[in-house]
Symmetry: C2
Subunit: 369 residues, 2 copies
């Protein structure tokens, strides 16, 4: 069975590595034969939006999936005429637009921050009046890792923010003074089975995930989050892994955004769960029985941003696992991650501190970002 993956980044690479033991074969579509996925699978060189390249990929494989969210939905819909595409184009379309995404959340009882659509400078003024400050102005489309957004602290910030972002459709979101950030990674197959990993606690720096702790040190409203995600998945006939990132405030979850794919905050599942999110994504899109999501101990996952630490220093630590995506170093770029498994929260706190010290030292070595 051959799987086509649009995008050959680290997510696609880890999907392929999870799928080889299952006897699956992988062909990627991406622009570089040096991409992380291309190092471990076949590649068709081309842009995601290139209809010919997409059609060529679709002809070669039994099912299509993607590891990026900026795939043009129309091209995907066309490819879906020839071969199943999972997750389906409809939910990708919703995920690509923060306004549609919030509507999808609302349809399934998933709380979000208050928000207003902003298409003009006048809209922005009215939205700030309605929601108050602080608030966050965001591009509706193609923002990730904190790009394409501005915090508005006081009225004088509005002009500059409009100047920077006003060339595209925007949304203003009320600022959530959260206690912490968590995410839920779940999976569904077309037969309707679902499975969910325990909530992960995520800490970001400058809009980029720094580390995740899973299961989260303090339980969140796991069951409610699962019920809501299951309802959302049902309505889209979802297949594969879905991730929702939340703010948690006073024990309640407020959805920030969703990703219809495997997710950085689920990387801990490779060593930290009975079945990884990558294998479960494949099980989901192939309509296979879903794998056990039970955690093996307490996992800490730390991203390597802009520089990789020395492997020998990292793997000298017991039950610490090194993941190098094979990417060229660039400031703040996600080059790899480290995962430690410990028996209890205290042990996990200790190793987290050690790993953060190690990755920061390596990142500092790369010179100023």
């Amino acid at each position: 069975m051959s799987i086509g993956i649009i995008g050959a980044g680290q997510l696609g690479r880890m999907i392929a590595l999870a799928g080889y033991p299952m006897g699956l074969k992988f062909t990627f579509l991406d622009r570089s034969d040096q991409a992380p996925g291309a190092q471990v699978g076949n590649i068709i060189l081309g842009d995601f939006s290139n209809a010919d390249a997409l059609a060529k990929l679709a002809r070669e494989v039994s099912v299509l999936t993607y590891d990026v969210e900026n795939v043009p939905v129309e091209a995907l819909r066309e490819a879906a005429g020839d071969v199943p595409v999972h997750p389906g184009p409809a939910i990708l379309e919703a995920a690509q637009d923060r306004l549609d995404e919030k509507q999808a959340f609302a349809d399934h009882g998933i709380a979000t921050a208050p928000y207003r659509r902003v298409d003009s400078r006048e809209d922005l003024g009215a939205a700030v009046k309605a929601l108050g400050l602080p608030a966050v102005l965001k591009r509706r489309r193609l923002g990730y890792d904190g790009r394409g957004q501005r915090f508005l602290h006081e009225p004088s910030d509005l002009d500059e923010a409009w100047e920077a972002l006003g060339d595209a459709p925007l949304i203003l979101e009320g600022f959530v003074d959260f206690d912490r950030e968590v995410s839920l990674v779940g999976v569904r197959n077309p037969s309707g089975d679902t499975a969910f990993y325990p909530l992960s606690e995520n800490v970001h720096e400058d809009g980029i995930l720094r580390y995740s702790l899973a299961p989260a040190p303090k339980n969140g409203p796991q069951t409610k989050a699962e019920d809501q995600m299951r309802s959302l998945m049902e309505s889209y006939g979802y297949a594969g892994v879905l991730t929702i990132e939340y703010f948690e405030k006073d024990g309640e979850l407020i959805a920030n955004e969703m990703a219809p794919r495997v997710h950085n905050s689920g990387h801990w599942t490779i060593e930290g769960a009975a079945t990884s999110q990558f294998e479960n994504h494949l099980r989901g899109i192939l309509d296979l029985p879903l794998g056990d999501t039970r955690p093996r101990g307490r996992a800490a996952m730390v991203n390597c941003l802009g520089g990789m630490p020395e492997m020998s220093e990292v793997i000298a630590l017991p039950d610490v696992h090194y993941h190098d995506y094979g990417k060229a170093a660039r400031p703040r770029r996600k080059l790899g991650h480290l995962t430690a498994i410990r028996e209890n929260d205290a042990g996990r706190s200790d190793i987290l501190e050690q790993l953060l010290e190690i990755v920061r030292r390596a990142e500092g070595d790369q010179g100023p970002g």
Copy 2:
């Protein structure tokens, strides 16, 4: 860092899959671009004994290893002039000849069955006189999975056995009426660190491994076996994984043979230990710190011989993992394996029975072997 692997079988494939997260790259040397390793890495097409092909491989990589034992030692020695070869040619040479192998065992206090060298029909008669019957006549070189050997039950068996095997140097080994078979998988790096997995209990059928239980249900003489293997490794300046297969009789180990490589009886370590034998082989040959060999629960590994079971039936069982090597089916050929992790021996016994029933059904489906 690029690793060259001579032989692109399932062992090489699993080494590469373990090495990709470490940021390593792999080039195989083998005769077919459909070989299991070639499906997940680069391949140079050629015979192991082809000096040009070996030299080409050596030029492309930083270190050479192998997943087969029938690599011509002279060719390997020549390649070792250009690039480190681990494990070294000397121990491979010993492992290729049952007589040298027994001498190597004896040098480190490792017990073996009594044996005699057999170069003629007369030698055979004298050897049987000395060791008694039953006994096992074996080719000294290139035997594996039960090939190239005959059981001698009574004097009238000698002529036919000589007829079948007498065209090559032989060894007669006293028959060991063992209680069970076990194996020790260990690893060493050039800095001299060693690590050992718990003994695995192995059950063979027709000379081919049917299943392994690890850690073994009943403890064997683990420490003594480790001390002896460490001594053997030291004397060869060993790097990488080494396996010794033993008969156990009245609580004592009697070495049957060694393999200077990762081993089928260590496949359980992928899910069943903190670090897999494949990752530890790479750590060993690269002189990196060795990984934690601690078991995660009680593992049962069952080989799929000649036919693969339906993946969906297998992976519907909790914490059961499917490994398909991507090989064409042939009777009795090792096509894949299944590994189950359970919390205790009772749970492991139950799932073992289930898995044996599943694989036998699939093997029966392939028609008579």
